[in-house]
Amino acid sequence: MTQTEERAQRYVGGGLLRKEDPELITGQASYVDDITIPGMLWVGVVRSPIAHARLGGVEVAAARSMPGIVEAYSGADLASEWAGGLPCAWPVTEDIKMPTHWPVVQDKARYAGDAVAVVVGESRAQVKDAMEAVEVEYEPLDPVVTMEEALAEGATKVHDDFDDNETYVWKLANGEVDQTFADAEVTIAERYYHPRLIPNAIEPRGVVVAPIAAQGEYTLYTATQIPHILRTTLALTVNIPENKLRVIAPDVGGGFGSKLNVYAEEAICLALARKLGRPVKWIEERSENYLATIHGRDVIQEMELAATQEGKITGVRVKLTADMGAYLQLVTPGIPVLGAFLYAGVYDAQVYSFECVGVFTNKTPTDAYRGAGRPEATYAIERAIETLARKVGKDPVEIRRLNFIEPFDKPRPVAAGLEFDSGNYRAGFDKALDLADYDGLRAEQERRRNEGGVKQLGIGLSTYIEMCGLAPSQVLGSLRYGAGGWETATIRCHPTGKVTVITGTSPHGQGHVTTWSQITADALGVSPDDVEVLHGDTAVSPMGMDTYGSRSLSVGGTALYYAAEKIRNKVKKVAAHELEVSEEDLEWSEGKFQVRGAPDKAKSVPDIAFCLWHCHNLPPDTEPGLEETYVFDPPNFTYPSGAHVAVVEVDTETGLVELTKYVAVDDCGTQINPTIVEGQIHGGVAQGVAEGMFEEAIYDESGNLTTSHMGYYRVPSAAELPSFILDSTVTPSTTNPLGVKGIGEAGTIASPPAVVNAVIDALAPLGVTDIDMPTTPERVYNAIQSAKGASA
């Protein structure tokens, strides 16, 4: 890097403190529940307590006559409000079964939590009282709770219109897979279950709608990750012209995929605001959130590897059964597809096949939850490679080293049919082992084993590759996804030297305002403090595709990079005119255009923004103003990777597992703000560790969610987690000029197999080779007992 270039990168790569923080640490943020509009009514949604029931009468008259109640509606009362059901944008196969999903059901309730009636009133408390007065006659039907039940011969149908509960079968195959398995020297076949999870963003969902009835105009405030996608889809569902609907994502208190959806309550509130001509507000309660907001995972995996005697993987064959829940939400069927290509991980396989069967059950719909499909894939390969290691008599380090894809810096095809962008998997792995003091840990483990104490040490490894930066629009089309994967950025340079950046991404904790300010500051030679970043309002931002799938920086940040290039091109032309030189005589240096060899003759972006405002002396054919928009459609996905090490202490008498050390070495390509990158990893690791050790949504045989509130579902606190040890490797992506890959989901993808492998490792001398997530004391205790039983 030359010195000038170095100085030009003043902010990118530095840990600028977040510009978002001041309002958040002083209580001045504005989340949906903080919004009050004069004349606003409260909305309550009455939900079925029964998983599967035909609705007899839904009687709302008594509720309607309660104090403060303005209206109450059954599903039938609202039927004429909908131009269509709630959308599913990803029909993954041609013959997928796509049930109609009304915001308020009319015929039957298909999961405990399905909306059956709506009450509108003057206050939160009055609405709550009146909801009790809604009388619904439920005629219970056999609930279909597990995927096995759903697929059994003669099973009760979740949707009467279809022949059975099989939603779709999606397949992918490359190479002579069956032959490879038939000829293989070694094969392994394992079955894993990836539990159902509840996302638990700490802010529950909420919706406020402000209508201007006379104009047919609506402003919808909602706790969402996807204001743009919502505007388009809700316009269609509720039949409001898209250009009369403004969607605002105000401050949003975390998402993790759970706010990447088009929910019944958003449609309901829009319809009610139109029907009543008054502003309305609905705020989700936490226990309601457990039923009414999507769940994640819930996948059965049959994972097979073919390998040589030495342990070199030759083939991967996977079959999934994935629980859709009762309906298809926005991208429900596509979640397994996001992982479908990654079951070989960072290992070099020759042949590959994947099949997924989607299944309807009478449970809350599943959809994207942090990692979406990729934690599942990583878990399967990272568990399976350890089984393979045991089978061929190698240790977990050796087997991985033997199988890594060699370092590469140009796009490289892999067996699953993707082209990875760049990677050096061995480097991250070695670094992680070093940081963890792997040899020291093994020695300590040996010592404890010899001593035979109660608390045994386990060391778990995990490597991962993810596919993010969603996504090349053409590829999305070929996967039958309903929208594109591009992203937009607009840069507006004000005559006073200030800069407004408008992005189509919609952050909810990721710090885009800070990161986008850093990129802009370096690209335009201004201070990050002079950059204002606007987002999350469809009336302000250009078109957008919003925030999910670790896409924002690699797609939206790249759009910003190119928008800045357009600004600089225009500035250069006007600067040359102002300085009376030709454009070729100018060079971009120290954040300005300088005349080559005469650095005191220079013009900055703010200088030229002013010229383009007064327009007194512009070169011919120059449009006044300095504002540019760029829309970036990525040519490929990005492929972040990494290696994690988890160390646990297992109490062999009680089954209690304690995570004592966690090392993460991630490669997200170039880092714009390393502090924010680290924060994303911390949070992701905590969430993935929780998945591995604590969390599981459990239903009883009648389809009741027994982990029905936050007191029963174990979101970990600080007390259950250690501090994390982080480092990184940097392999710039070849998919975008920033070289960035994405980091939002990495921690959640890598950590579940790391902790589970660690628990199995601790118990290996007892003969334990398998344990399901989460590794609760009960499960660990039982695994120990049955291993003892088997060896006795």
Binding site: T26, G27, N200, I202, G509, H682, M710, L721
Partner: protein, 159 residues
Amino acid sequence: MRRISVNVNGKQHEAEVEPRQLLVYFLRETLGLTGTNVGCDTTTCGACTLLLDGKTVKSCTVLAVQADGEQVTTIEGISSDGELHPMQQAFHEHHALQCGYCTPGMIMAAIGLVEEGGGDLSERDIRLGLEGNLCRCTGYHNIIKAIEAAQSQYSSAGA
């Protein structure tokens, strides 16, 4: 309805409240102090944490009438003259927040904890002390660092 008189962030408020109204909704909906958040309905998440007579409480579990005659301090009341409270400053400097939803409760809980702990809490003490406050974004790593940093500042200021 019951008449109550509560001192909130140094200012006296008189109001008629429903006996069943929770303190958090009295603050948010009657006084318009929306900095204190609500994240659950089971007293689990701690998003609503504030100081009631100097002690941390979860304001979703206290009735407004129980605050009658008491002093309430919320996130809006801890910075003075545009100067952030050291705990707020530490959260900012250590990137101890992402979405910010847990943050007001977390900062109030941290203030209560450090004031009680007298400036020499270990990492373990802090982790245990924060058990009642959930954050889904940060993995707590930087929250712990922020509290450790603020604590050393407290004690050096006190010394």
